[in-house]
């Protein structure tokens, strides 16, 4: 049976503390190696800390240097590392992104497609949205990477599913408010059921400036069973083994992924355009 061991680093990142956050990520890589994990997933924007405000703009270089060091440690440890950071393109635009590091190489960068800009969030002040939903071929599995708000919409997960993802990982920095943890559990379960794929959700933990990142990282197997749940609010680290063949077995009879009709997807796009008019 093909399995993957995934490490979840539910880090308490500190706002703007790039060197401290980097140290926590590096320690997590070493712990992952010790625990014989194949891949490690960190929370969203874990080099800078979600909610850093204008610090995002001040410390992009520092954060890119930190990513470089993380890449080196990841190579040395032999652990595929998926880490949240602030990316910058050639034109100087910034993105809320995740780097996928395999054997010391950044094999790809995913840029959050659904930026959050309501209530306490103002990501559009700092970031551009990504518009691509790639999958990443790592030694153990083909992985779809999404960031936080992306999962509130069914479409991004659907796209990486169509691209052949065997596992979807979600990097997150979700602030707590009443019922938020339950709401997320429901969302994730829906996404798992639609796509018949295992999901790994890693959330930031801790409290800063009165905002609580509730932790509670979760792993669901392809049949929608919650197989790991980390503690609320506090920093935590854990490793979970996921069966990568379960999805294929379930999909023998469950046709919902392979038999989506192209005409329906085209109709969906037309309906969307009608709504925008």
């Amino acid at each position: 049976m093909r399995k993957i061991r995934v490490a979840l680093a539910q880090i308490e990142t500190k706002l703007g503390d790039v060197s401290g956050n980097k140290e926590k990520i590096i320690q997590s890589i070493y712990r992952s190696r010790e625990a014989q994990a194949h891949i490690l997933v960190t929370p969203e924007l874990s080099t800078l800390g979600f909610g850093s405000g204008d610090i995002y703009l001040d410390r992009v270089n520092e954060n890119l240097d930190a990513l470089e060091e993380i890449r080196e440690v990841s190579a040395e440890a032999g652990v595929t590392t998926i880490v949240g950071f602030v990316d910058r393109d050639d034109r100087g635009f910034y993105y809320n992104a995740a780097a996928v590091i395999v054997n010391g190489k950044i094999i790809g960068r995913y840029r959050k497609v659904q930026l959050v800009n309501y209530r306490l969030f103002d990501e559009k002040r700092y970031f551009r949205p990504g518009s691509r939903l790639p999958v990443f071929d790592t030694p153990r599995a083909r992985i779809g990477v999404l960031i936080c708000e992306d999962v509130w919409f069914p479409e991004p997960a659907r796209a990486v599913t169509f691209r052949g993802a065997e596992l979807i990982v979600v990097l997150s920095a979700s602030p707590y408010d009443r019922g938020k943890n339950t709401l997320w559990k429901d969302f994730l379960k829906e996404r798992v059921r639609d796509n018949i794929l295992p999901f790994v959700f890693v959330n930031q933990s801790g409290i800063q400036d009165g905002v609580t990142y509730w932790g509670g990282s979760m792993v669901f197997n392809a049949s929608g069973k919650l197989i790991k749940e980390l503690p609320l609010i506090e920093e935590a680290f854990d490793v979970v083994e996921i069966d990568l063949e379960e999805s294929r077995r379930l999909r023998r009879r469950d046709i919902r992924v392979r038999e989506v009709r192209r005409e329906i997807l085209e109709e969906l796009l037309r309906a969307y355009e009608d709504m925008q008019r």
Binding site: G16, G53, I55, I207, D209, T212, L232
Partner: protein, 285 residues
């Protein structure tokens, strides 16, 4: 989204709220390198709740300051405050503010308390005296000031600017008054404190509900509909079967008090105006 008034917290939420509030106190203290906190303890429910929550996590680094105006502050409040600190071994100071109130009042042209504006002015001086004492002892021992305002008061503007509203953090500032009652019960605040009629202690015999013209139960339902459910005044009145006037009265209080919930407005002259363009967290590293 669910358009129902769900103010009441579940047991699970009460536990999470308690943990978050306590951790947020600890986080701020450690971030700024302070050595604990001070809290003005009146013997009312809000300050008793903050005192006990803080004491559970910072122990002797908390100092509760009991600052009655003897003869005006209700005697059972003073007694409840003293019982609370003594029964739980909480460090405290007892400072009566009568002399300070007398001195400030002597500066006024009239001391005729039947005059509403004189009465209100003096009423506002008292929490400001307590604020000075709070910050004096906070400075002395490198502590932060824990505010005791709740969401209901903050929304209504039912507090004195730079008085009881002056603080470094508001640990219970996102809890409605009726949720404060629930959390107080959950963490074991004595029932005599919970059952007491809420009073800002502005003058003798004053009660909040009488002054506000509504019960806290009613007010919280209206606020919840307007703020959490984002309903209009009309929709709120319909949902709660209340008169348009009573909902409007509460809505006007929210609007009029916006200035109390914000730092002073800076007149913008540069492209980096500090209250508008400059956005940095307080707890930055």
């Amino acid at each position: 989204m669910n358009e129902t008034i769900e103010i009441r917290l579940t047991q699970e939420e009460l536990e999470i709220f308690k943990r978050i509030i306590q951790k947020s106190i600890l986080t701020r203290i450690s971030k700024i390198g302070a050595r604990g906190g001070v809290v003005a303890l009146s013997g009312g429910i809000d300050s008793s709740l903050v005192t006990v929550l803080a004491h559970e996590v910072i122990g002797d680094d908390l100092v509760a300051i009991i600052m009655p105006e003897e003869g005006v502050s209700p005697e059972n409040d003073i007694k409840d405050a003293l019982n609370l600190v003594k029964s739980r071994g909480i460090r405290y100071r007892y400072i009566k503010i009568n002399d300070a109130v007398r001195w400030f009042s002597s500066l006024l042209p009239s001391r005729d308390l039947s005059d509403f504006s004189t009465r209100l002015t003096i009423a506002n001086v008292k929490p400001r005296i307590r604020m000075i004492i709070n910050y004096m002892f906070a400075n002395l021992e490198n502590k932060i000031v824990l505010g005791t305002s709740n969401k209901t008061e903050l929304l209504l503007g039912y507090g004195t600017k730079f008085g009881d509203m002056a603080a470094d953090i508001y640990p219970i500032g996102d809890l409605y008054k009726t949720q404060v009652w629930q959390l107080a019960e959950y963490i074991g605040i004595p029932t005599e404190i919970i059952r007491k009629k809420p009073s800002a202690g502005l003058w003798k015999g004053q009660t909040d509900e009488e002054e506000l013209g509504h019960t806290y139960y009613e007010i919280d339902r209206v606020l919840f509909a307007l703020v959490e459910l984002e309903l209009s005044v009309r929709e709120t009145a319909e949902l709660l079967s209340l008169s348009l006037e009573s909902v409007e009265d509460i809505y006007r209080r929210i609007i009029r008090s916006e200035h109390k919930r914000k730092p002073p407005t800076i007149t913008r002259l540069s492209k980096m105006c500090l209250d508008k363009d400059w956005r940095y967290p307080v707890e930055r590293y």
